[in-house]
Subunit: 695 residues, 2 copies
């Protein structure tokens, strides 16, 4: 997609002489941005605009055109796109609105546009977008007001309007951007194409995204995981609450709104999710300008107690650590600082600290190998030197490859200092809390790269063919829902431990089954016409021997016949009695955007009332499964509680991973639940199970 | 305390000719601030300073001095305070540091200072503070750099350094303040005195507080409740996480850190707690400039989809409502807006909206009686008119007594608009989320005033005298811990339903008890020497008749004698067998700052593993008790779940309130637990109970 950011030549179709029109503004932006390639304005009248020769149509241009920007009214866009295709244009940016966003008519128009670009192999950004900016290549192919300063943050936005606000803000705050893309309706190029492009872009070190909807959920996770190893992706997503619970009847379905899926995707891909646009840029600054933390041990240097306590609060709340200084550092601090100073972390260098005291403290702390990152807090007291202190922080921080951020609090008195810090790549946060949250984002990224990214997709040895056969049969017989008996067979073929059972048609079969199997069994009548089995005398428990089984069969059948003489009797199910254990649930539902969503939680009240469940999108790595089991609050119960011994959580994880493999192998599985999966200190056994297919 | 804010005359002791010294800066601030009363600089040298006659000592001043500001070195402060006392000074502000904050020596000095002011009946702010500012009376008795603009927000801070940062910020952002008080070590005047003072101050409409520690917890709640009916109090408190769990062994103790107590205080008093200084001012602005919401129905007007979705997300998350417009409003919007606009809430007036379209939409929406507050969102698109739009919002909002806030997003392009908004009392928030959070703070305040403030402190008819007698006896016998039997007696005297029990000394007593009482009983051996009662054959259940009771007594005693022949046997407890129900816990622990903290939760896993509990500080209103029961996540279980019928939560609340009354009547109760209190559809019955006293 180089032709979007580094084209040799650009045609602007819909160029205008009227300064009020977009066709004029974009041309002006192209010229004033300093674009080095050729610019060809196109307009039916063919008058020269802004001293550039103007062509009546793109076909008239006698040279090769790599990128075309279209700003004509919507109804002409398709014809012009066709013309561009014929001309051999590589990339199209359609600024014009009037497509899918306006309803049925626009939707048809957008479909037609898609066909055209497909026919000619042209890539398209838009329609209904603000355009793109590449500060490095001096390309401003947008109707933004100004070119933002050059930097290494790339920003991709689904909302053009938000884009204008962000660009305006970036210019005021002097935040450097690399590439800016407003992708509008994403008829062709979407966030995934752009992430892939920016992954290898040397001018980009952080990718920011504003999203309203995800195009290809599962692919987003894959592409993001690849990108994360090189650079961070930070997303703010609007529409968290709108979708709510889905209509599906299973537990999974009723708890899984699409934001749950999105949040799982974020966890599995290492994307950092910002809650607000403010947070998006709080993260962007630290990632763009500071080296990645090597650990989570943070030091604080301050000239005021209050703000440092607030920082400590947030450090504890967010799970970061306060560094414990080495003896060397403590001695250095003792030597340099007044006796009343606090030399433990946070280092309080007192209200009368000038720049030199800050410098010595920062130097001592940065040199400590127990420190991964530092926050320098400053409040403007009487002798405080914000400007000189900023200079000293910049100077000292350059000597170490460590993450240094600041929190100069106040207004006019700290302005000059903050300016120096920003110009030299030290992000300044207006409150200690925002500084800590930025560090937390970076630490999450570090941890994901160090551990989660190493998660393996395990392939278990399963009998896939046999399951395929079964599902084919179901499809043929149009059976969309199956219960315990057939469901457990499928699980069994995927190596999942299921409660063993058998349907006996007569006394002899019962006898034989008990000869082959040891243990205690429960026997249950199977009849479509008898719902209340116990009432009908259709349940016998504690069966241990072939003789008992034989007798029980007879009694069950007799009793059922008496209860309802005309009932159809299928047989008697003999099922091993389940050992004691904790009931957990594994469920699967299907999200429109992300595919199979796997849920885990403890049964009963935990899932139904407390909604204490975890979700991940299939396929899962071993680390995903591990996190799933451990992130629920009631996970502690699985670790042993009072007289309940510790459960074998490895077996739960294995079951989750096998379910993940199963649903990936068979996309026709729409829902499934194992409820309960009984877990004890030895094993996890699937008891009741239900599948729903979509054929 | 009028003499602090509106003194007729002020002496500055420690005035200096050296512009670097605080004694000079403060004098300059007093003069330049425009203070109308008399100013008397005091300095041993007696040279004139800044054209003011200087006195060698305060006694030398031939006039009445109402307020004295002391900035001399710490070691001279006490002598000077004594001199001020003799002179008849009413208020003292001690700026000087070198007191309790520096350790033992300073602590002694502070104690001495306290004695002196007590002797003379002088009130004291400080020591170790920044001073005070009253913009209305033009009094700048501080060493802040500048006087902030006049306004109605008063700010009280325990940290002087944070104060300097806030003042500096307020000046830059042109945020108007009324009174600013840095109260330092609060040797005398503390946050409660100041809240009480500001409660009736006409120049203050919002009270902001930065706190690190609370002086008198219970009084804070009382004073705050009284203040809340007049104006909001917003607090940011540092030190949330530091204290952690307490050492006490009871459930309550182990879960109740002091931040839990503080958070309970916030809930019970209607104080709004800000998480950061940023949030503190986000709240301050809306409260200071906008009328209080009359309901929680919010409307959004926007020229961009993205930011309005973010606002809607936050509205849902925070439990506010999106207004449903009346037909009249919908018709008005249809008439005024282009056909593609979204006229449902949020009202999207499209990217090409100019000021006139904003004006019409704002007018239509504000006139709707289903709208309590509105957020106007603006992003700077091509034809957007931030300045004119701001003017139109100001104009329209003046016609209605409704809360109007804005979210103009961007940088330079929206700057002028934001300035107009701010100058006219429309708070502008940089992100939609911050705008919604501000509204949420206001709505919490509204709801507290409308409901919680009406909560009643119920006095139950109890046998206080009898309990006092019992506790006196315990005190005399130095019994600090009591268990079930004596504990239940105390509860019974306070009208709490306890499981009935009786200790029988012989077979006859058993027989008689069963003659008098109907039902099923459990009988338990009472012996200080036998811990494992069941092993010793000391427990019999299901006793229904006098004969059975008689027999059981004999068997228990025989069996115990066999088990441990030398054991001391007190008797056999006969206790009614408890009906089925849900086990809940009511616990009490004592917080150093706030006194008795009452805890409620479901028993077992809910309290031990999920820590799903609620807390309030005694005494509780009926509404507090109601909130306590309903705010735990597992409260839904009490509402009926599967085969468990709905519990009688009224009985739980009643028990909580009686416990509240009990611990308020007897401050010597250090801890107590009812664990479990069994609740079913009819009743709540205390089963096991434990008290710990401090005498």
């Amino acid at each position: 997609m180089k032709y979007f950011f580094k084209p040799e030549s650009v045609a602007l179709i819909g160029a205008s002489t009227n300064p009020e029109k977009l066709g004029f503004k974009i041309l002006k932006n192209l010229i004033e941005g300093g674009f080095k390639g050729k610019i060809y304005p196109v307009n039916p009248k063919g008058e020269n605009i802004l001293n550039l020769k103007c062509y009546k149509s793109i076909s008239e241009i006698p040279y090769f055109v790599e990128l075309a920007i279209i700003v004509v009214p919507a109804e002409f866009v398709c014809d012009i796109a066709e013309e561009c295709g014929k001309k051999g244009v590589k990339g199209l940016i359609v600024i014009s609105a009037g497509f899918k966003e306006i309803g049925e008519e626009g939707k048809k128009r957008e479909e037609k546009l898609k066909e055209i670009i497909k026919k000619y192999g042209v890539r398209l950004i838009g329609p209904n977008c603000l355009g793109i900016i590449d500060t490095r290549n001096k390309l401003n192919a947008s109707f933004a007001f100004e070119m933002p300063p050059e930097g290494k943050i790339s920003f991709i936005t689904q909302s053009g309007a938000l884009g204008t606000a962000i660009l305006d803000w970036a210019i005021k705050e002097n935040v450097g951007l690399s590439k800016f893309v407003s992708f509008g309706n994403k008829a062709d190029v979407n966030e995934i194409d752009l992430i892939e492009e920016l992954k290898d872009d040397e001018d980009t070190n952080v990718i920011l995204l504003y999203l309203e909807g995800v195009s290809e959920g599962r692919k987003l996770i894959e592409v993001a995981r690849k990108t994360i190893s090189k650079k961070p992706i930070i997303i703010v997503k609007a529409g968290k609450t709108e979708s709510g619970a889905k209509s599906a009847s299973s537990h999974t379905g009723s708890l899984a709104g699409s934001d749950i899926a999105f949040n799982s995707a974020v966890k599995q891909s290492g994307i950092i999710r910002a809650n607000t646009v403010e947070e998006l840029f709080d993260y962007a600054l630290i990632f763009s300008y500071q080296p990645i933390l090597k650990g989570n041990r943070i030091a604080i240097i301050t000239n005021a107690g209050g703000p440092s306590v607030m920082a400590v609060d947030m450090i504890e709340e967010k799970g970061l650590l306060l560094s414990r200084f080495s003896e060397k550092t403590i001695n250095l601090l003792k030597k340099y600082l007044p006796p009343v100073s606090s030399i433990n972390n946070p280092v309080d260098i007192l209200g009368d600290a000038k720049a030199d005291r800050y410098e010595k403290a920062v130097e001592a702390v940065l040199s400590d190998e127990n420190v991964d990152g530092i926050i320098v807090i400053l409040t403007p007291q009487i002798v405080t030197q914000p400007y000189e202190t900023a200079q000293s922080i910049v100077r000292t921080s350059k000597k170490y490859e460590k993450c240094v951020i600041s929190c100069f609090m106040g207004g006019k008195r700290v302005e000059e200092g903050i300016k120096i810090l920003k110009e030299n790549g030290i992000p300044n946060y207006p409150t200690p809390e925002r500084a800590v949250i930025a560090l937390k984002g970076m630490d999450d990224y570090r941890r994901f790269r160090e551990s989660n990214l190493k998660g393996r997709f395990i392939e278990f040895d399963v009998n896939k063919e046999k399951v395929r056969e079964k599902i084919e049969n179901l499809k043929r017989s149009k059976t969309k829902i199956i219960g315990d008996i057939e469901g457990r067979e499928i699980l069994f073929l995927y190596g999942i431990n299921v409660v063993s059972s058998f349907i006996a048609k007569n006394e002899e079969e019962c006898e034989n089954f008990l000869k082959r199997n040891e243990g205690k069994f429960v026997m249950k009548l199977i009849s479509p016409d008898i719902i209340h089995k116990t009432e009908a005398g259709g349940v016998k428990i504690g069966i241990k021997s072939p003789e008992e089984a034989k007798k029980a069969f007879k009694e069950i059948i007799d009793s059922a016949r008496k209860y309802k003489p005309d009932a159809k009797i299928v047989g008697v199910q003999i099922q091993k009695m389940i050992e004691k254990g904790i009931e957990v649930i594994i469920g699967v539902s299907k999200d429109v955007q992300f595919g199979h969503l796997i849920m885990f939680g403890l049964g009963g009240i935990y899932v139904e009332i407390l909604k204490d469940v975890s979700f991940r999108i299939a396929p899962l790595t071993d680390i995903d499964a591990d996190e799933m089991v451990n992130e629920i609050k009631s996970a502690k119960i699985l670790k042993g509680y009072r007289n309940i011994p510790e459960c074998n959580t490895e077996k739960i994880k294995e079951t989750i991973l096998k379910i993940s493999q199963l649903v990936c192998d068979f996309p026709e599985i729409k829902e499934m639940d194992i409820n309960p999966l009984i877990v004890n200190e030895r094993d996890a056994i699937a008891v009741d199970v239900r599948f729903v297919f979509e054929f």
